[in-house]
């Protein structure tokens, strides 16, 4: 393989190489430094005169004397069944002291788009054991449902709890977890790893770790390696794969960093204009294919800078993903775990996975009613702050109390509390029973008589 020593410029993570033979766009590049270390990179721009290489590791040690080898092929990911239970670096190298991965296949990491015609509509309810998800923002197999959080909030606990408890009731099909960490701290990573090991989840997990002190540019490929692995496990081996990507904000920062180094015209808040398409090329790698056994479900986590949901990162994410779970600081301050605020949260695919034959016939109506009652109670809190509780009507007071009760009993649950969907819905009914029956306007008479505690007790007694 030819080695060039024609580096003309090094700027941040970018290395500019002159006078090469024709080099392919997106090709994998090895850079040999003076001390013999090999660093990897990818071609970002190629022309007759100059080739721009984005280096996935730190550019420390690279200089005019470094050798550049173009491998002649795009980045391919070796994948195999024995990846389950392994811990890999953000660049895909084993870091758990185990042997190299025995590749059964080498796959392109960019991942082609699933033909919309080949997709099957998602329909299987995933029970996470968390009431605010299962009851009011149901996750469905093949969905991409991000967690919108902010610094200092327990999104990692929520993600872990989902990974631990997620199952499709009544299904015995094999499932796996692919976990990709981007720019999280060693401490956070250890927290995840300890939990995976403790619960035995690691055996059916593949972990990619790009930590805070790993090169930022490596973060660009970490989610792609993780999703390539997930697609292999799902569509080649038939696993139902849950992919957790954390923290997408760090990914976007890396994207911006490269954009700036390339002196690109920046878009909103300095993020590149192509961030929507770039994020889509990650998030859209979820789904189910007609006639193929496995599935890929994604839970990306992102921290909203300054708790701002209109910031480009959550905003663009929300336009690609099928809803969002919003973790809320106020609830967290009240000491409620998981502090999920159901009002701005949404699962766009919920209706495909609930109701008769999926969960229970009353699911939709109970969810609508809980949502409406909580929304009303929550609105009244603002009013109480102005006029005082005494000024409220009897009816309003009941809704106000309902909001507190809802947070305390429905939202709040233990870190290891795994509620079945029946428990969640029955709990919802218990709370609704504190309101007068005629206020339950969103639920049909029939369902009330079947599920309302008042009638249930009568039927039993």
């Amino acid at each position: 393989m030819k080695e060039y020593r024609t580096i003309s410029q090094i700027a941040g993570p970018l290395v500019f190489v002159e006078k090469t033979e024709p080099v392919g766009y997106s090709e994998l590049v090895n850079i040999v430094t003076a001390d013999g270390t090999i660093k990897r990179g990818q071609v970002l721009d190629t022309s007759d005169e100059i080739v721009v290489v984005q280096v996935f590791e730190t550019t420390a040690g690279i200089g005019r004397d470094s050798g550049i080898r173009f491998t002649g092929e795009t980045i391919k990911m070796p994948v195999g069944r024995d990846m389950l239970g392994r811990i890999l670096s953000g660049g895909g190298k084993p870091i758990d002291g185990g042997p190299e991965i025995v590749p059964e296949k080498r796959l392109e990491t960019t991942g082609a788009a699933i033909n919309p015609y080949a997709r099957a509509p998602p329909a299987d309810f995933i029970q996470t054991g968390i009431s605010t998800l299962d009851g009011t923002n149901t996750l469905v197999r093949g969905q991409k449902l991000p967690i919108f959080s902010a610094s200092g909030l327990p999104h990692n606990d929520v993600a872990l709890q989902i990974a631990r408890q997620a199952k499709v009731p009544g299904s015995t099909e094999e499932f796996a977890v692919v976990f990709a960490a981007m720019g999280i701290t060693r401490e956070e990573a250890n927290y995840f790893m300890a939990d995976f090991e403790k619960t035995g989840a690691l055996e059916r997990a593949v972990v990619f770790l790009n930590l805070a002190d790993d090169p930022a540019v490596e973060r660009i490929i970490t989610p792609r390696l993780a999703l390539t692995t997930a697609e292999y496990l799902a569509f080649d081996l038939g696993y139902h794969v849950l992919v957790i990507l954390t923290d997408m904000t760090n990914y976007c920062e890396a994207l911006r960093q490269i954009g700036a180094a390339r002196e690109e015209v920046p878009g909103r808040r300095g993020y590149p204009g192509y961030m929507y398409t770039d994020l889509a090329s990650i998030y859209e790698r979820a789904g189910i294919i007609k006639g193929v056994k496995g599935s890929v479900t994604q839970i990306p986590i992102l921290t909203m800078p300054g708790d701002d949901i209109t910031h480009p990162i959550p905003d663009l994410t929300g336009y690609i993903t099928e809803g969002q779970i919003v973790v809320n600081r106020e609830l967290h301050r009240k000491g409620i775990y998981p502090p999920i605020n159901v009002l701005p949260s949404l699962s766009r695919l919920m209706n495909l996975g609930i109701g008769k034959g999926h969960t229970r016939e009353d699911h939709k109506k109970v969810s609508d009613q809980l949502y409406a009652a909580y929304a009303e109670g929550n609105d009244l809190r603002g009013l109480v702050a102005i006029v005082g509780k005494d000024a409220l009507s009897e009816r309003d007071r009941m809704f106000l109390e309902f909001a507190d009760l809802f947070e305390d009993r429905f939202v709040r649950q233990g870190l290891y509390e795994d509620r079945s969907i029946e428990e969640t819905l029955d709990l919802g009914w218990d709370l609704l029973a504190t309101l007068p029956e005629e206020q339950l306007v969103r639920i049909d008479r029939e369902l009330i008589q079947k599920y309302h505690p008042k009638y249930r007790k009568k039927a039993q007694g």
Binding site: V23, G24, S47, T110, P116, Y117, T277, Y319
Partner: protein, 584 residues
């Protein structure tokens, strides 16, 4: 001038940077389609600069090297038009998605081309002209029963025309000659048309006929004209999908073109699985038989997303040329604008507002300008109505795409998530929506519905507006504090909202409401309001007036097919009640 007139078809790649590549030594015109690299990826010329030709590529460019050949096809991006379009599901550059699954499996790989129409399938062609007839560009030569829709085979728009030497009916593929002119020109059922060029028409007509949708809030309050343009903002959970399906099912357009531009894969799948299952209420046949779907999800190549809206509107224009009314839905034009922004930034163009290219407004208006009701070259008249969805980031309507769209379109249907949370469907906000076609359509309503309709609509809008003002007062001081007269206004407004505006898409009768029925319903509400006013002048209290029982029956009219006798009885009862009140 160093180059002669002859075309150098072959050039070489000089630079590759994502979906934008540069070639040298290529003679090309703007928007020519080129084949890039050894794999012959499809691309389009978007800039010419000195020796350099800059090309946007519709497929992933990974692995392509400088020095690889670039070949100019000499054609612009074209679509194939002919029998076989209906029921098709295409990507942004008219590759049939079903064929792509057969050719390359479940994922969209690159370097695979697939023609938009089947070139093997035979169609039964029946001529409507005969040898010796004179035909010119656009004239109809004959028909093909494509689905339940009759496909009209036309002389291509750029043909010179002439006297027909030979024409015969029978079974033909789209490539086979069906007609020969005296000058030797052979005509097939297949036309190729560059997507960025509007198909020619003889004359644009005024938008003075409404596109009747059977949806009361649209036809009654905010109508769109045939050939008109409308925008719908699509915030989360506002029932956009149901609204679009109702339009597709019930509007009196014969052909529906739906463009899913940069949307979610799973949602696109919902459309792709649901549309074929929908039944056309007018014929009982699958709705797909008069539909063309274009699906380009957010992770499919960005350049193809940019092209998808042009592909869609060209297909729509083709059916318009046959004399059909076509309704086109583009979901979402914001994703299309983002594709423009992305390509523009790759070209290192000076950005305009929020990074969008400075030509954003021009491109949007060019696109919407392709809508219209027209007289075609062949003398038939047809229309393309465009309904574009916008998705403003962060729900901020002041952003450039929404603002530029609103400057062009004449109708705005403000879907409102708050209304849908209150289960008011269709969740179209009656205060924020508008239609600028009202003036142009007045005459039609006078003629076809009743001369009373237009005043009736103005009255209803006035009541709703008044209610909004009154509600503000009610929230501060309570409804008892309102003057008697206005307490009744609130009641009448409630009736307009619940009886007239709310409409159940899932009820077999209420899902479509004829213009006559809309008129009768609104007239009845007005009738009550007038009686109430008279009664109040005569000294009746608001409680008495609001307590009239028969008015509560009006709401069931929606769900009754042959409602006239029921309505008559209600109005009679109402009169009796008011008479009794006066007597007391």
């Amino acid at each position: 001038m160093k180059k002669g007139k002859e075309k150098r078809a072959q050039g070489a790649l000089k630079r590759i940077s994502g979906p934008v590549v540069t070639a040298v030594g290529l003679d090309a015109h703007m928007y020519d389609v080129v084949k890039v690299g050894n794999e012959e990826l499809m691309g389009e010329v978007i800039k010419i600069q000195g020796e350099n030709t800059i090309i946007q590529v519709y497929e992933d460019t990974a692995g392509i090297r400088p020095g690889e050949p670039v070949e100019n096809t000499g054609l612009s991006l074209t679509v194939e038009l002919g029998p076989g379009l209906l029921t098709s599901i295409y990507d942004g550059i008219q590759r049939p998605l079903e064929v792509l699954v057969d050719k390359m499996g479940n994922f969209i790989e690159r370097g695979v081309s697939a023609p938009g129409l089947s070139h093997e399938k035979k169609w039964e062609f029946v001529p409507t002209v005969k040898a010796g007839d004179d035909v010119k560009a656009g004239d109809i030569l004959g028909t093909v029963q494509e689905t339940n829709i009759v496909h009209k085979v036309m002389v291509p728009p750029r043909s010179k025309g002439g006297k027909i030497k030979e024409i015969s009916g029978g079974s033909f593929t789209v490539d086979e000659t069906i007609c020969i002119l005296e000058d030797g020109t052979e005509i097939t059922m297949l036309q190729r048309w560059p997507v960025r060029v509007p198909r020619p028409v003889k004359e644009k007509l005024n938008p003075d006929i409404p596109l009747i949708t059977g949806q009361r809030i649209l036809d009654g309050l905010f109508p769109i004209a045939k050939g008109g343009t409308a925008a719908i903002p699509g915030p989360f959970g506002s029932g956009k999908t149901v609204a679009q399906q109702q339009l597709a099912k019930w509007s009196d357009a014969e052909i529906v073109v739906y463009i899913g531009c940069g949307e979610r894969g799973n949602e696109m799948t919902e459309v792709l699985t649901e549309f074929p299952e929908l039944e056309d209420p007018k014929t009982g046949r699958p709705l797909m038989e008069r539909t063309v779907l274009i699906a380009n999800t957010s992770n499919m190549p960005v350049a193809a997303r940019e092209a998808s809206v042009y592909t869609g509107i060209t297909i729509a224009e083709y059916f318009r040329d046959m004399g059909y009314d076509v309704s086109l839905m583009a979901d979402s034009t914001s994703r299309w604008a983002e594709a423009m922004r992305e390509i523009s930034s790759r070209l290192e163009e000076m950005p305009g507002e929020e990074g969008y290219p400075a030509y954003l407004a021009a491109r949007l208006s060019e696109f919407y300008e392709r809508a219209g009701r027209v007289v075609n070259a062949n003398g038939t008249s047809g229309s393309v109505s465009v309904i574009g969805a916008v998705s403003p980031p962060g729900g901020d309507f002041s952003e450039p795409v929404t603002q530029n769209t609103l400057r062009i379109v004449k109708v705005f249907w403000a879907l409102d998530a708050k209304l849908s949370q209150r289960r008011h469907f269709p969740a179209i906000n009656w205060l924020n929506s508008y239609s600028l076609y009202l003036g142009a359509l007045n005459e039609w309503y006078d003629r076809e519905v009743s001369p009373e309709w237009n005043p009736l609509r103005s009255w209803a809008m006035g009541v709703l507006q008044k209610e909004a003002e009154l509600q503000e007062i009610v929230q501060l001081v309570g409804s008892d504090a309102l003057p008697d007269e206005e307490q009744v206004t609130i009641e009448v407004a409630r009736m307009i909202r619940e009886i007239f505006l709310q409409q159940n898409a899932y009820d077999p009768v209420d899902t479509y409401c004829s213009m006559t029925k809309q008129y009768d319903m609104m007239k009845s509400i007005k009738h009550y309001a007038d009686l109430a006013r008279t009664a109040q002048v005569g000294g009746a209290t608001p409680q008495q007036v609001v307590g009239i029982k028969s008015k509560n029956e009006l709401v069931q009219i929606k769900f009754i097919k042959d409602y006239e006798p029921v309505l008559e009885k209600i109005l009679k009862d109402m009169k009796a009640e008011f008479d009794a009140m006066r007597a007391a």
